[in-house]
């Protein structure tokens, strides 16, 4: 059985948020890149949880190989990190980011899966923490003609397919699919494991399989972006907070409730 996990390298979203909260987030001369060079690059958190979901399936004794693949500019350490965590193979589809959109990325990932023996399960993070779009997994599923199960907190093998627990606004939903599937993992899966020191050292020697785009059998349409990311800006928030004053918690509470009643908010 083969599980393919799709991962993306992103800027550390917590670091980006800290800059944003401090009012120091800036966009570069190209009008779309964040200028803060100090922000570390790492594996998208939801993707790391998707890998964790694959490792948990393996932990239960299911015989499977786990391939981690990334498409985009040359990935830094995220594939070594994946290897240290327990991926059996790591692969990199290196392409110029200029002509990429979700459709092209999905074509590359689907092409890779199709030309390397297919997959019994494709796991992805529910969205990337940079663009927050979360559309690539659905596009990959459509291209491979696989059912797509979104926003999962658990995936188990069973009955010739997969049993997936989804996190819906109404609570957990348990669904089953027969055969292969694309499943997206949400943060409710829980914390991913840490690599051991020994596995980290071993992973340093791991070389990702470099995949040539020309080997993926893509059509002209597959490689034609639907949208172009042209601009990014930092929104301004107009604050008009009225601070409630008082000498004690009781007084603050009374004044706040009175103020809310005065405005008919409650």
């Amino acid at each position: 059985m083969r599980i393919v996990v799709c991962v993306k390298e992103v800027l550390d979203p917590d670091a980006v948020n800290n800059y944003a909260l401090a009012g120091r987030l800036e966009i570069g001369d190209d009008g779309k890149s964040l200028t803060q060079a100090a922000i570390p690059r790492l594996m998208n958190g939801f993707d790391e949880q998707a890998l964790e979901a694959a490792l948990r399936i393996k932990d239960t004794g299911v015989e499977c190989s786990i391939t981690v693949v990334s498409a985009g500019p040359a990935p830094g350490d995220i594939l070594k990190h994946a290897a240290a965590l327990g991926a059996d193979e790591v692969a990199s589809i290196e392409v110029d980011p200029a002509a990429l959109d979700a459709h092209v990325i999905a074509s590359l990932l689907a092409g890779y899966i199709r030309t390397t023996g297919g997959a019994d399960l494709v796991l992805c993070g529910r969205q990337a923490s940079d663009d927050d779009q979360g559309v690539v997994p659905a596009l990959v599923g459509e291209m491979l003609d696989l059912p797509i199960v979104t926003i999962a907190r658990a995936v188990e093998s069973g009955d010739g397919g997969w049993r997936v627990t989804r996190v819906t606004p109404d609570g957990d939903e348990v669904v089953a699919v027969t055969g292969g599937a694309v499943v997206t993992i949400s943060n409710e899966l829980g914390d991913p494991r840490y690599p051991t020191a020994a596995s980290k050292i071993k992973a340093r020697r791991v070389k990702p399989t470099v995949v040539a785009v020309s080997d993926l059998g893509l059509s002209a349409d597959d490689s034609e972006p639907r949208v172009a990311f042209t601009k990014q800006f930092v929104p301004t928030i107009q604050g008009n907070c009225e601070f409630i004053s008082g000498d004690s918690p009781a007084e603050l509470a009374d004044r706040l409730i009175a103020r809310l009643r005065e405005d008919s908010v409650i």
Binding site: N17, A20, L21, L25, I27, K32, D101, A102, H103, R126, S129, D130, D131, D132, Q133, G134, V135, A138, L139, E142, P147, I148, T150, R163, P169, D170, G171, E173, V174, V175, V177, T178, S186, N187, E188, R226, V227, A228, F229, T230, K231, Q232, F233, V234, P235, I237, C241, E242, F243, I244, A250, L252, A253, D254, L256, I257, L260, D263, V265, I266
Partner: protein, 326 residues
């Protein structure tokens, strides 16, 4: 090739409960249609209720397009995507607008793949320039930035719009929309996902709540979340939570408010011990009144709040429960 039409798509909930939820995307759609020079249509999967007719008229809809099929009676992603794709193939709308929701996160990109359109989620604005070039502004980095995507050439685009991205505004002149039935053939569609256990919806949903009291890490400890529940009850509202305390297992994820949780739009959103990370605010900034309680007077949440209390929520919440009950 696509026409210049703009279509707003809704489904589910028996076709009744759309008032107040589609006002903003109908307003957005009318503006986009005016710029593309096409008609604004509303496609509904399910019965056309009086509410839909009235709302459509108020917001200047030209046609209510209507699909009904036994396979759409209960939500099925495969049937919904197939029905929408058949509609798009025939009508070739330039822009498909859908209010972002749980199922939309799956349906929108799948539809785009089927009809070879672009797709943008988390949209806050759609613009059409003088040359007819379409661009969509979307929230990124959990709300810290906005990204602008230009749709290639004449391609159509499926746009999933964030709640309250646009202020609803009725059309200058109300319309009397024509209702057009659209027949779909879903005979070949068999939902590939089998539901084994349905979600156990407990009580009212956060996204429909008028009052929400939410807690974050400032509560200090999981046991203190009961203060949030008590105040919510005293105010007649529902308890919510920030993502960190959900991730820490203090409270079930059905309470999570934010970009990856529930997007809410209550009358009152009271946030206790929540710093106001953008990804959280994406789930509550549509509230009419935000009240923030935080020890840090520089906390980001105060930039969004109408009323602020600087102090320890563990001291203030019990007093608020008392005052709310009095």
């Amino acid at each position: 090739m696509s026409s210049n039409e703009v279509v707003v798509v809704t489904w589910g909930r028996g076709g009744e409960a759309f008032a107040g939820e589609v006002d903003d995307i109908l307003t957005l759609g009318r503006g986009v249609a005016a710029a593309t020079g096409g008609a604004l249509n509303w496609l509904t999967l399910g019965p056309v209720s009086d509410t839909i007719r009235q709302t459509a008229g108020t917001y200047g809809v030209a046609n209510i397009d209507h699909i009904e099929d036994a396979k759409l009676a209960e939500f099925s992603a495969d049937a919904t995507v197939a029905a929408l794709a058949q509609y798009c193939e025939q009508h070739s709308p330039r822009v498909v607008l859908i209010a972002q929701g749980f199922d939309v996160r799956l349906v929108a990109p799948r539809l785009a793949a089927k009809v070879r359109a672009g797709v943008v989620m988390n949209a806050a604005a759609v613009e059409v320039d003088g040359g007819g070039k379409l661009s969509v502004t979307a929230s990124a980095y959990g709300g810290d930035t906005r990204a602008v995507y230009e749709i290639a050439g004449e391609r159509a685009c499926v746009v999933s719009v964030l709640a309250n991205a646009v202020l609803p505004e009725a059309a200058d002149a109300a319309t009397t929309p024509a209702v057009r039935d659209f027949a779909v053939d879903l005979a070949a569609v068999d939902e590939r996902i089998q539901v084994l256990e349905k979600p156990k919806a407990e009580g009212p949903r956060l996204d429909a709540a008028e009052i929400i009291v939410s807690g974050g890490r400032g509560l200090g400890d999981a046991a203190n979340y009961k203060l949030i529940e008590e105040l919510a009850e005293a105010l007649g509202g529902l308890p919510g939570a920030s993502r960190p305390i959900v991730d820490d297992g203090w409270v079930d994820s059905s309470h999570q408010v934010g970009l990856t949780g529930t997007i809410t739009r209550p009358g009152l959103y009271l946030a206790a011990g929540i710093s106001g990370a953008s990804q959280h605010m994406a789930g509550c900034s549509a509230a009419k009144t935000i009240v923030a309680i935080n020890t840090d007077s520089d906390a980001s949440i105060f930039r969004y709040a109408r009323f602020g209390v600087i102090g320890d929520c563990l001291e203030i919440l019990p007093e608020l429960i008392r005052a709310a009950k009095s």
